[in-house]
Amino acid sequence: MLKEQATQSERPRTHIEARSEQPRYPGRAEPIFEVHEVGVSYNGTPAVRNITLDIGRNRITALIGPSGCGKSTLIRCFNRMNDLIPSATVDGSILYHGQDLYGAGVDPVEVRKLIGMVFQKPNPFPKSIYDNIAFGPRVIGMKGDMDAIVERALTRAALWDEVKDRLKDNAYQLSGGQQQRLCIARCLAVEPDVILMDEPCSALDPIATAKIEDLMLELKDRYSIVIVTHNMQQAARVSDMTAVLMPEVREGDVTIGHIVEYAQTDKIFTNPDNKRTEEYVTGRVG
């Protein structure tokens, strides 16, 4: 079911010009995720609560905030990675193209084919560069010439020229930045609709970070991207929309994250409505 909807949604991807004229606030961009009153708890202890926001198609949406505010917890709801933690429970609803991600009959495996994820630390498989890319297409049973699929994915991730002569080498021989772009390529190879990035540059040097940021800007023509980052400059540089999460301390040491402000990135960084947002983005707290 989910697959069909994604295929339908691929059509407007060609009208890039038309879309770029749209205002960049969520009310006008076509939403890919509609998050309503979402909360996540571990063993009954809430980690984030009351999350309501729309995430726009072909936008880069940044989730920022100090550590412990639940940004990673939140992003893991979008591809149902939280299902892997038995003690985690998710309530509220997340609509993906209008369909409830957590609805009965939705298979998390199908969800993850459409909503890819890039992790904090590069996590290539202990295999060749080629097999790292080919793994995804093989397990989801993609048809077509595997060599072409691999080349296309690596090209889109701006890695092809660096690795085309060493596709059989072990992925661990690549540098950290190359490994992370390999992980992005691996994610692109299964032709997802959305890419979730959980602090993708936190283990990388500034040059490698810049390459990934350039790549994100290129990719947003084809994909919708949600990025968690602790680097405010990064959010300012790449994202269209920014959600600021803040931890709220209650009952002893328990901190619960919630959104204090969600707006266009320019607004968040130049003229935020919320006082805590302003203090955070100007570096006075957090």
């Binding site: 495996v109 498989f125 202990p126 995804g136 989801i140 299964v190």
Partner: protein, 293 residues
Amino acid sequence: MSAAHGTIGGAPRADKAKGVVFKGLLLFSLLIGFVTLIVLIVDVANDGLGKLSWSFITSFPSSLPSRAGIQSPLVGTIYLMLITAVVTVPIGVGAALYLEEYADRNRWYNRLVEINIQNLAAVPSIVYGILGLAFLVRGPVGLGRALLAGGLILSLLVLPIVIIASREAIRAVPPSIREGALALGATKWQMIRRQVLPASIPGIATGSILALSRAIGETAPLILIGAIVFVPFNPSSLTDQFTALPIQIFNWTTRPQEEFKLLAAAAIIVLLGLLLTMNAFAIWLRNRYQRRW
């Protein structure tokens, strides 16, 4: 305060002496084990090397010391190892995969199984022998004193070791690899089959070989099930009677003639050679495929 500012002289003499004595004691403890092993090997080599020859390996046991050899025990031992490997590795890896990837630690029965496996690894081998005698040789299975019965008993004996070693190898595959595979839309089984299992095979192989090298020296359970001590033929099927190197050694050392004691020493050299070769291979395998994640 007696210590003046700026003095960086050594610790008091008594403290230094204590340190030296302690270090000496530790070294002594190490040497006890090491020297005993060396003495043992030298002693056995002294007795046995003279008897060691190609004809010793290719001859069958005999009541005449000059004509006796170890062909049938050696072949029996190799068959036992093959049976044990074929039986324990799939079952052990399967059990380990279940415990690591599927079992919910919060369920009491899974915890019970875990504790049981830890304890099984420490059960004396003679107990497995009794179990084998009652269930496999006689009793419900009724295999008789067959090669298969011996192999199955050794399998049961080392199964907990294989499970524990495989679990460690599987657990060493970092969670980020599992997440990476699942995030691409792989099912749990695809993730295990194509990522976790291949990545843990070197560790599983190393653990399995070390488990086999424990099985190769086991004598008690085989004697108990009556692996008969004089077998002048090689087993040709799984239901044939058999003997094995440790049993042959045991047999020879109980004979009164001095000649047989030397034969036992020669057989011990062969057994030790097999054992060390297996261990060396396991270590090589571990170093060859060791991964830094």
